[in-house]
């Protein structure tokens, strides 16, 4: 299939979701631009006659521009939570500079003779502003708005990282599940959107100011009316927000949570926020109450979130108990019982290598290591929990060992360019390439078991939800999870469908 026909069939299959993401993207961008315009232009007008403060503001907006957008999102989450609000705030912060700078430059560079003429003819301050200064600065102002709009539409793809939705969802999905079609759809649509907006503003800039103002006002009133009406008509239900990290596996899990909770109580409405950028975004969201639940690993809690447990106990049960107790003590959170599968580091080899050398455990590898070459994820290659520690514990020396992009190392293994790589036990490629995971017989790798994390206050208020989520404790084997990841990441099936199939097949759902 050519790229184009792949794109078309992807769009056909997902068109309602895509339309929704497109609409979210447009509304996030539009709201951000409206707020930006409402802040930046009046500010520039107010500062025309206060040049020193004006210059100061130019500096400030310039500095804001240099802060990486991910950092802005991270800073905002504890204050305003997740979703569209912090995304819009971040976008406004970015868009203010071009709009303010151009408006200010436009207003302060008007031919002084024209300003003197306006003064000498005794026009009112309003007349001077609306009939002389703003129209003369308008080309500059509009070019500022154009620059900002293109910038906002591009940057709005980051909103997806914190559950804001939009076209970035497809870009992230594409990156995570190695689905180039989804990635292209997201990227191309947002590029087209930016070009269209650029063109639209150019066209609108030729419409007289008065008509433009009236048009905008009408649109805003219709928009507000629609939103308020929609809010009022919505039935009163309890909303629960469940989020997940980037990737297919967390998305499958949170879809299971949603199905279990909603089946049990139809008055509860679960909102899913899949594909969050990282652990800290999610944890801050949980702390601030913007997220109610998200699945987290025991190892991650012990290594990144709580203090005093740098080493994860090799016994999964003890590791879970440590994580549960510490996160409760230090953050007032409840960590439910984990599922069966462990998503640990793993050492994998091809089936033929395993058969030929009779490899079952990592200890077995020691005998033949001198004949094998390895390729590893750069992080794994450096961390003491990774390759260096592994070598020391088991005492082997590979013929050669190099680092390789995580996405490429499985392919290199399958193509027999290397013989050993690292991975995660639930990676779908293990199934895809029929690889063998060597048993960690000396218990070197820390254990990562997944379980729902939530505030203790939430758990106390929602015992029914806790009971539903507990149904998964001790369930879902490694091969189950591998299979589901394979369905989502390699076969590009929807996480919600894969999750529901599993729940039905195992009689969790009627």
């Amino acid at each position: 299939m050519t790229v184009i026909s792949q794109l078309i069939s992807y769009i056909n299959k997902n068109h309602s979701d895509l339309l929704q993401a497109l609409w979210q993207h447009i509304s996030i961008s539009l709201i951000s631009m409206l707020i930006t315009i409402l802040i930046a232009i009046p500010l520039a007008i107010a500062l025309i006659n206060h040049r020193r403060i004006g210059e100061f503001f130019l500096q400030v907006t310039g500095v804001i521009q240099t802060i990486p957008s991910l950092a802005v999102l991270g800073i905002l989450i504890p204050f305003v939570g997740i979703g569209t609000v912090p995304a819009i705030i971040a976008l406004v912060l970015y868009a203010i500079m071009p709009v303010f700078q151009n408006t200010y430059a436009g207003l302060t560079n008007i031919d002084p003779v024209l300003l003197e003429a306006a003064d000498a003819l005794g026009v009112t301050p309003r007349f001077k502003l609306f009939k002389v200064e703003l129209p003369l600065a308008m080309p500059m102002i509009l070019s500022g708005i154009r620059i900002a709009t293109v910038l906002v539409i591009g940057t709005a793809t980051l909103a997806a990282l914190i559950g804001g939705g939009g076209l970035g969802t497809y870009i992230l999905l594409g990156i995570q599940t190695n689905n180039n079609t989804a990635l292209l759809v997201g990227a191309v649509l947002s590029a087209i959107l930016a070009l269209l907006a650029n063109w639209l503003i150019e066209v609108l800039s030729k419409v007289p100011l008065k008509r433009l103002g009236i048009g905008t006002l009408v649109l805003v009133i219709i928009g507000l009316g629609g939103t308020i009406g929609h809010q009022l008509l919505k039935p009163q239900t309890e909303r629960v927000t469940i989020a997940g990290k980037l990737g297919g596996e967390p998305e499958v899990l949170i879809n299971m949570y949603k199905d279990l909770i909603e089946q049990n109580d139809s008055k509860v409405k679960v909102t899913l926020k899949p594909n969050f950028g990282g652990t800290s975004f999610l944890f801050k969201g949980l702390q601030s109450g913007k997220i109610d639940i998200y699945p987290e690993f025991t190892g991650t809690i012990l290594q990144t979130l709580v203090k005093g447990n740098p080493d994860v106990n090799r016994n999964p049960q003890i590791a879970y108990q440590n994580a549960r107790d510490d996160v409760k003590k230090q953050f007032g959170m409840t960590y439910l019982k984990p599922m069966a599968y462990q998503n640990n580091y793993a050492v994998t080899v091809r089936q033929d290598t395993a058969t030929r050398y009779h490899l079952k455990t990592i200890s077995d590898l020691t005998r033949v290591a001198g004949q094998l070459s390895g390729a590893f994820d750069p992080d794994f290659y450096q961390e003491s929990n990774g390759y260096p520690g592994l070598r020391k514990t088991y005492g082997f020396n590979l013929k050669s060992a190099k680092t390789m992009e995580p996405s490429l190392r499985y392919e290199a293994l399958a193509n027999k360019r290397v013989d050993v790589t690292d991975g995660y036990t639930t990676d779908p490629q293990i199934k895809e390439y029929h690889l063998v995971v060597l048993k960690d017989d000396k218990g070197f790798f820390p254990t990562y078991q997944g379980a729902p994390l939530m505030k203790t206050s939430f758990a106390k208020q929602h015992p029914a939800i806790v009971k539903q989520l507990d149904r998964l404790s001790g369930k879902i084997s490694i091969s189950d999870m591998q299979n589901m990841n394979y369905q989502v990441t390699v076969k590009h099936r929807k996480a919600s469908v894969v999750a529901r199939e599993y729940l039905k097949a195992h009689h969790y759902l009627e």
């Binding site: 024209l114 000498a120 005794g122 026009v123 009112t124 129209p135």
Partner: protein, 314 residues
């Protein structure tokens, strides 16, 4: 009547206007002339408070302009700038009615008034009112500038070197328009220029400004015949040699008092002897009338001859 009483303006210890006193009468076309940097424009701008004096008073009809609402004050005063300074975002009609808009004139009254003035400055309203300033020549733009200044029927019009950027032909045409408008309306006009020809041609009275001080105030004839000091005589010296005006001819004692209904082309003191010669040739008559004096063709020959002797004595 405009009175400047002991008006002083300092910029960083420099006197732009140095304790200056001046009275401009109602209905007068008063020209402030001087080299660039002399303070003449600063002086003009104290009248509508675009410049606020460091000390001293400016009164219009005995009312101190410092006490007036500055926008209301300016809305009653016409103002013409150097380049026309039309707003590039408005049509000619919109530009011309800026003051009328701010004075809240009704639309039909505005339209009639603007059309009338456009015709008077030689621009066809049907052709010009909907044009944008970018489509006008310099002379046309400045004509619109004059229409804008006169639209609200102001009792006082201030003109700040309005023709300095124009070519000589447009400049002469516009000077004539100002002379005609001043004759037809009874507005007081205060006109700033660095061009002494223009000053002599237009002025009822001239104020010569130099170093922030008034060097001399008088009619063109007085200035030319009795310069108050070396600066004034130097400033007009060039004029005396090249472009002789009828005022100077009269001041030199030529001409006789005209009888009632005396025949002859009517001329003004500001016109040159060359225009006088042209008038004589065109009218096929041997005399012209300047105010209440008659100048004959013999006067022209005698005056030219007297210049030659003057030239020798120099």
């Amino acid at each position: 009547m405009i009175e400047l009483l002991n008006v002083n303006k300092e910029y960083q210890d420099q006197h732009a206007l140095d304790h200056l006193n001046l009275t401009i009468n109602d209905g007068e076309l008063f020209v402030l002339v001087g080299p660039s940097g002399s303070g003449k424009t600063t002086l003009l701008k104290t009248i509508n408070r675009l410049v606020v004096p460091t000390s001293g008073q400016v009164k219009i009809d005995s009312k101190d302009v410092a006490d007036a609402n500055v926008q209301e004050l300016r809305r009653q005063i016409g103002y013409v700038l150097q380049t026309g300074a039309l707003f590039p975002n408005m049509t000619v009609a919109e530009n011309a009615s800026v003051q009328l808009d701010n004075l809240k004139w009704p639309a039909d009254k505005k339209r009639t008034r603007i059309a009338e003035l456009m015709t008077e400055v030689g621009l066809d309203p049907d052709h010009f009112l909907d044009r944008m300033p970018s489509e006008l020549s310099g002379g046309e733009a400045q004509r619109v500038g004059i229409v804008r200044a006169l639209a609200c029927e102001p009792g006082l019009v201030l003109m700040d070197e309005p023709f300095s950027a124009l070519d000589p032909v447009s400049r002469r045409q516009l000077q004539q328009i100002v002379i005609n408008l001043h004759r037809d309306l009874d507005s007081t006009i205060v006109f700033v220029t660095h061009d002494m020809h223009e000053a002599l041609r237009l002025a009822d009275r001239i104020g010569v400004v130099h170093n922030g001080k008034l060097q001399q105030v008088g009619t063109p004839t007085e200035i030319l015949s009795e310069p108050a000091n070396a600066f004034v005589s130097n400033f007009f010296a060039d004029e005396q040699q090249t472009d002789q005006l009828l005022g100077q001819v009269l001041a030199a004692g030529f001409g006789r008092t005209a009888k009632a209904d005396e025949p002859g082309t009517k001329m003004v003191k500001g016109q040159s002897i060359f225009e006088w010669a042209t008038a004589l040739q065109k009218s096929q008559m041997d005399q012209v009338i300047v105010d209440d004096k008659v100048l004959t063709d013999h006067d022209l020959i005698d005056y030219l001859a007297s210049l030659e002797t003057e030239g020798d004595s120099h």
